[in-house]
């Protein structure tokens, strides 16, 4: 496995983590020369042999140890980013230790069911993890040749996802939300209901066994205690906890820690997926907080800012997180990512959602209008998209008519909505009879297709059938996106309700 960078000394004395291996003694360097401290950064002088990206420990006189990472080195001057903040650090009271390796976390099967803090330390009061391996949290890029294309349908039991924005195993599909919208509930529902439906298997709806086949890795970055608590108690309630690994950095925790949280979570996920053959669902919330932490560091370094003060490398940085989703040839496991981010002012052109959308394979966008109208989950299907949908649906995966009906529902809903806008200005009377049908379609679509209960677990068949029932409102010749043979088989002109 290439997960471990070549230079990093491995801990091969398994079980005896409290002792540094001999090799590490040789590469560790202690210095006292802190010169400048600004924001989360400090400049250390007169060190030799330090390398880029190296992990550091800052030892305060109180006995406190803070961790940091080397951001830049010029001759013997080193710029260090301190994860837990620089409070209490002075120029002459601390000792800085360079550990001669990048940031690592210990991984093991026993991580399942456990909670960790933003530093990767056990945070649930339980015993420490006995590591099977220590892995560098930055990982290595996956060779595109080694990737297997994600094409296995995941049934989430949510119509707007299964029917129109289908999630497949190995995909990264973010939820774009806004302040006050129920993204946490949607994510928890996905985590609870997600299961793989292979062709020929029984397709059951209702309260199927939770999370069959999926382990959940949950990374919280700067979210509130309540939100984190919601997820934890939700996982406990449904018994998902024993298949979950949680990394929690709350709003009150040091922001710089957030830069490491998703990387630790994904390193754990990679271990579970590609070494222990599990299917892993990774939930990252909230990526906007992550990006703000990145901006903070960039500003402290006086870098030339890009849009809205975010650094120019935000795209590359986000990509190193999102691209860690996927499947590998010859491996059983997979990593499916659901990052959550809140769009400031519900603006999807804000750099964080914008760049995320360019990297991820689609997005689910929550709409405040739908939410205010009481539709739940308020997924606005028009700007939502799953790029990998087409390879995960159809004959042998879901049903032969899936692609066509999904296209048709989109087209009809879009037309219904624009007719509705017209009706607002000019009154219903100004609409053509066909347009009136579309308006009715779009209204019932919101109520019957989008709307569904928090515990309602629809099978994909049910979802498609609701779609056909709604399309029955429209005359057959309007349904141009559907192949004639499927119209023959499934189309039933409905009664107007």
């Amino acid at each position: 496995m290439g997960l471990l960078r070549g230079f990093a000394p491995r801990n091969d004395i398994s079980g005896r983590v409290f002792r540094l291996p001999l090799k590490e003694y040789l590469t560790v360097k202690d210095v006292f020369g802190v010169k400048d401290i600004f924001g989360p950064l400090m400049l250390v002088e007169a060190v030799e042999g330090v390398t880029y990206g190296e992990l550091t420990e800052v030892r305060l006189p109180t006995g406190d140890i803070r961790r940091g990472r080397v951001l830049e080195i010029s001759d013997s001057t080193v710029l260090v980013q301190v994860f837990e903040g620089t409070l209490g650090i002075g120029t002459d009271n601390v000792r800085v230790r360079f550990l001669g390796k990048g940031q690592e976390i210990p991984v093991s099967r026993d991580m399942l069911g456990r909670v960790f803090d933003g530093e990767g330390r056990v945070a649930d009061g339980g015993p420490p993890i006995i590591p099977e391996k220590r892995l560098n949290i930055n990982g290595s890029p996956i060779n595109p040749c080694a990737r297997d294309y994600p094409n296995e349908f995941i049934q989430t039991g949510i119509s707007t996802i299964d029917g129109l924005n289908t999630l497949v195993r190995g995909q990264k599909l973010p939820i774009f939300s806004g302040a006050g919208l129920p993204h946490a509930r949607l994510a928890a529902q996905i985590a609870r209901q997600a299961r793989l439906i292979a062709a020929g298997e029984e397709k059951v709806g209702g309260g199927a066994t939770a999370l069959s086949g999926f382990a959940v890795v949950f990374a919280a970055m700067g979210i509130t205690f309540e939100e984190a608590d919601y997820f934890i108690s939700e996982f406990r309630k449904t018994g998902a906890m024993e298949r979950a690994v949680l990394f929690i950095n709350l709003a009150e925790d040091p922001p710089i820690e957030r830069l490491a949280v998703p990387r630790m979570a994904l390193t754990a996920a990679e271990y579970l997926a590609f070494e222990l053959d599990m299917h892993v669902l990774v939930i990252l919330t909230d990526m906007t907080n992550y990006s703000e932490a990145l901006r903070e560091v960039s500003a402290a370094r006086r870098e030339v800012p890009g849009r809205r003060g975010y650094p120019g490398y935000l795209y590359t940085d986000l990509a190193t997180i999102y691209e860690r989703a996927g499947r590998l040839k010859g491996k059983k496991g997979s990593i499916t990512q659901i990052p959550i981010l809140t769009m400031p002012e519900d603006d999807k052109t804000h750099p964080v959602p914008d760049l995320t959308g360019y990297i991820t394979e689609g997005q689910l966008i929550l709409s405040r209008t739908l939410h205010n109208r009481g539709i739940s989950p308020p997924v606005d299907i028009l700007p939502s998209l799953s790029r990998l949908k087409d390879k995960g649906i159809g004959k042998g995966k879901t049903r032969e008519d899936h692609a066509d009906i999904s296209n048709q529902l989109y087209a009809a809903y879009a037309r219904g909505n624009s007719a509705k806008e017209l009706a607002v200005i000019l009154g219903e009377g100004a609409l053509s009879p066909t347009d009136r049908l579309y308006v009715e379609f779009s209204e019932r679509f919101d109520r019957e297709f989008v709307q569904q209960g928090e515990t309602e677990n629809r099978s994909v068949e049910e979802t498609l059938n609701i779609g056909w029932r709604l399309l029955g409102l429209l005359p057959r010749k309007e349904l141009k996106r559907i192949r004639p043979e499927y119209l023959e088989k499934y189309y039933k002109p409905g009664t107007r309700g």
Binding site: S140, I359, L422
Partner: protein, 581 residues
């Protein structure tokens, strides 16, 4: 002379003591021997952009010069390969190193042990000049590689032999001006070329023939020519990548170079897994047999992303020089520009607009200008073309941003992708009102001769109807559809037919995904026939509602799914229109 690292900041490393190293030379950085390129020299200090992640590199570590600029290897074995941004063979790396890309690996770009059958076309005693074809190698069932005399070598062929040879074996000797003036120059099938330097043609020619893509809105309304340039800007989710992949699949070029620059790994996996299975419409052979992939996904090192575009276009030029029609797809040039911005920022250069370096425009121009229709180097008068199609990912879909604007100044075709169309799942989501093509006259002339004399008229009529629809829509928003005259409502109805039955195209439907020019013409002809006849019927006093409800309309809508082999169906529908009206 070996140098010593003094500074490391992300992908930028500064070293001292590299005396004889020139700017843009390749170097090996640190104990891990990471690949890098010198991009700035200030006195003692050499700035190096490193093509790999620099974790673990620090001051005091060595830098080894290579003495030559970043170059690609050219020769048999390119077709069907997948390279990273600096032409390392990703398939070989996967086979040897596993699923993750390990740093500091070094494998030759082209396989050294493989034997190729070299078939000479020149003979002993011939006088040859650079660019002349010495012989051919069948590289894949679809591609015959022509081995050319490298630049700077000319004279009399003293040895040439048909044989099974590896890339490094001598296949010919040329006596005359060459590497040394005393001994004949030995020619192998392997050549190298620095990526930042364009390969010279004998002469540039104006491009003429269309690059047929089988995509109706592109070929009919906004065509691109062989040797032309096009750009596809659009916000995320508007279908840039689908268009690029459709072009890579269906464009009637001999060779396709697909550069995935800073995009998703799964997309490259998709290309890698689907191209060997997709069949070229002309030959019925797998598309992979005419394709070269350059993949530098978004999580791979940013500096190699900057190089990937040049790596791709140099390989493209090589095939162009053999006299082929080559099409290069670059997805996405914005990521390339961002890579440039990142490096520029680390060099602490004075930023231009939005932090991009001031030379953004000129770099983009030098890239697009390497396209074109050319008379190839050499005495044999071959013609080759290189078409370049670049996608642009403007932040927030805002086309006024620097990369889009700099691109629009150099490209001739603008396919503007529209968020609104994409959300209605109207694909390809090319906006028919804002897009343009400056190659229309050339393609009109071509299609008027080869396809049908009415091509140009139909195209113009289509543009007119769509433009009129946009104006009428404004009106409808104010006064309602009932207030329009029956003639205008007919226009709106016909425009809807054009949009839904012609412009909309399903990339996942086996027939609909590719439409030959002739069928494009027929489809449009049928719709426009319907329009003229309906207009006449209106004049005769037939009610509009009756015209709209005619059963033949459902048949028109189905025509796009009928293959061209059943041409009689189109005629039957035309007859039915006359009958029913």
């Amino acid at each position: 002379m070996e140098g010593i690292i003094t500074r490391v900041a992300g992908p930028l490393v500064v070293a001292r003591g590299l005396k004889e190293t020139k700017i843009f030379d390749m170097v090996k950085v640190g104990h891990l021997k990471l690949m890098g390129e010198v991009i700035e020299i200030r006195g003692e200090n050499y700035s190096i952009q490193v093509y790999e992640e620099t974790e673990g590199i620090g001051p005091g570590q060595p830098v080894y010069p290579s003495g030559e600029p970043l170059s690609v290897e050219l020769g048999p074995g390119l077709i069907g390969a997948i390279f990273d941004g600096v032409q390392r063979p990703l398939d070989v790396i996967e086979a040897r190193m596993g699923a993750y890309i390990v740093r500091g690996v070094e494998y030759p770009s082209l396989p050294r042990d493989k034997k190729w059958h070299f078939q000479p076309t020149a003979k002993k005693g011939d006088r040859v000049v650079p660019g002349d074809v010495l012989g051919v190698v069948r590289e894949s069932p679809l591609v015959v590689q022509r081995i050319m005399v490298p630049l700077g070598i000319e004279g009399e062929l003293t040895y040439i032999e048909e044989k099974e040879a590896t890339l490094e074996e001598v296949i010919a000797r040329i006596n005359g001006r060459g590497v040394s003036q005393y001994a004949p120059t030995e020619i192998t099938m392997l050549q190298r070329w620095p990526v930042r330097q364009a390969r010279p043609p004998r002469q540039k020619l104006p491009p003429e023939d269309p690059l047929v893509t089988g995509q109706r809105i592109l070929d009919t309304l906004f065509p691109v020519v062989k040797g032309g340039t096009a750009c596809v800007p659009g916000p995320f989710g508007s279908g840039k990548t689908v268009i690029q992949q459709q072009l890579a699949k269906w464009a009637d070029a001999d060779i396709i170079i697909y550069v995935g620059c800073g995009e998703r790994g799964n997309e490259m996996a998709d290309v890698l897994l689907s191209f060997p299975e997709l069949k070229d419409p002309k030959s019925g052979r797998p598309l992979m047999e005419r394709t070269v992939l350059v993949a530098n996904t978004s999580n791979m090192p940013v500096a190699a992303r900057e190089a990937s575009i040049f790596t791709g276009i140099t390989i493209a030029e090589y095939y162009r020089d053999m006299g082929y029609h080559v099409a290069l797809m670059a997805d996405s040039t914005s990521r390339w520009a961002e890579a440039m911005r990142e490096i520029s920022g680390r060099l602490e250069e004075m930023p231009g607009e939005e932090g991009f370096p001031p030379y953004l425009g000129s770099r983009l121009a030098t890239f697009y200008e390497r396209s074109g229709s050319i008379l190839c180097l050499g005495s044999q008068g071959r013609k080759g073309t290189l078409s370049v199609i670049g996608s642009v990912s403007p932040p927030g879909g805002d086309l006024s941003e620097p990369v889009t604007q700099a691109t629009l100044r150099v490209v001739k075709v603008f396919w503007s992708l529209d968020d609104r169309l994409a959300s209605q799942r109207h694909f390809p989501a090319v906006n028919w009102l804002t897009s343009y093509s400056l190659y229309q006259p050339a393609v009109d002339a071509y299609a008027g001769k080869r396809i049908a004399p009415g091509w140009k008229e139909n195209r113009k009529e289509t543009h007119r109807i769509l433009q009129r629809e946009a104006e009428l829509e404004e009106l409808v928003r104010l006064v309602g559809v009932e207030a329009l005259s029956p003639e205008d409502r007919l226009i709106m109805e016909v425009a809807r037919m054009i949009r839904e039955d012609f412009l909309h195209q399903n990339a996942f439907h086996e027939v609909d995904t590719y439409t030959p020019l002739e069928k494009q013409y027929l489809l449009l002809e049928v719709i426009l026939k319907f329009y003229t006849q309906a207009q006449e019927a209106l004049k005769r006093g037939v009610e509009l509602a009756r015209i709209i409800d005619l059963p033949v309309r459902e048949e028109i809508a189905k025509l796009r799914y009928i293959p061209l082999t059943q041409k009689e169906v189109f005629q039957r529908v035309i007859d039915k229109i006359s009958e029913q009206l």
